[in-house]
Symmetry: C2
Subunit: 230 residues, 2 copies
Amino acid sequence: MISAIIVAAGKGTRMGPDIDKLFLQVAGRPLIAHTWQRFASVPDIDEIILVVRSGMENAFAELGQQFGLNPARFVAGGAERQDSVWNGLQALSKHSEIVVIQDGARPCTTTDLILRTVDAARETGAAVAAQRVTDTIKESDGATRIVRTIDRSRLWSVQTPQTFRVEVIRAALQAVRDRGLQVTDDTAACEIIGRPVTLVESRAPNPKATSKADVPLIELLLTQAGASEA
Amino acid sequence: MISAIIVAAGKGTRMGPDIDKLFLQVAGRPLIAHTWQRFASVPDIDEIILVVRSGMENAFAELGQQFGLNPARFVAGGAERQDSVWNGLQALSKHSEIVVIQDGARPCTTTDLILRTVDAARETGAAVAAQRVTDTIKESDGATRIVRTIDRSRLWSVQTPQTFRVEVIRAALQAVRDRGLQVTDDTAACEIIGRPVTLVESRAPNPKATSKADVPLIELLLTQAGASEA
């Protein structure tokens, strides 16, 4: 059985103080509804758990009804992203073998990419969608002076989904919690306990809405996707 | 006196074998005409040198006339990017103090960004437009296995303009040539001879057309810029 956890508990301060980026209207519906739809339309995914800010459960349930999205369960988020993922893991069905973890603010993820991370996670235990770094990367002195050029040939920038065999991510996040560590992405927890993680190359743009500057491209991609479906 | 060198000598194989990306029609004109226009409209820039593939000089001259772009001089490119920049440097006016070097395929660069790199280059000798890395970056084992998470807090991805006091970039590229080295960006030549380079943060998207996937965002940005001018 395959489960998905969509992390939708952050407010995202980089958009501006009063904007909940997950409810930003993009290509005709709130951003989070696009992400949710992407997962709801994958037949292989047997359950969807949305991790939301406490008190927002009803707003998300209404959103699901409004856009005809498959039922999902709602779980309250924690203080940090890893706490939210942890709470989501506690809510998984007992029969869940594979869990696909997704940023709520990353609405262009394709079925193909989701399923390729599932295949890789079945094989090696952990997998993450990623893109090769193509820009020239410099290391600074901490201010604005260049120290050196980084060899980018082995660098990848990671996205979501981050997909795991359930026992692997449970053990990895438990170890991180036991040590009082913070990780910014779920595969970092696997790295800490020495579990292998496989990079799965994204074949299509898969941007995250972090700042307002990200929205036009996302709108364009979602509009194109909608047009090609219609 | 401030000069600009626009490097427009590459064909760009990542777009496909038969596509010259610089002549791709984007927002109503060839990509290179947008880049050229951005520099032609900066009053502080006293001369523009376009480095083009040998035999393409007339095609570029006609393009300039068609779109009413300020006269530019044309110089034939070399085998590699650094050879093309070198050829451009040989063609600078004797009175040139500052040279702004730009990728021809980066058409959204703003006047503000150009002038801030000029100011920084006056001060420290060398400056480059750059963006902080915001993605989580992983190092692979050379294949698709993650080795570690990179601390991104000091990482920047660099763009153009790369802007220099003329004697600084001349000395840096001369040193690189003397040692038979290849550099992928002009500031790397400064790093090799131990000259400081200042990072100048881009405040607006400044993408380069490298693959077809880059074109929709560039089209959107150029269309928006055109609409806000009109």
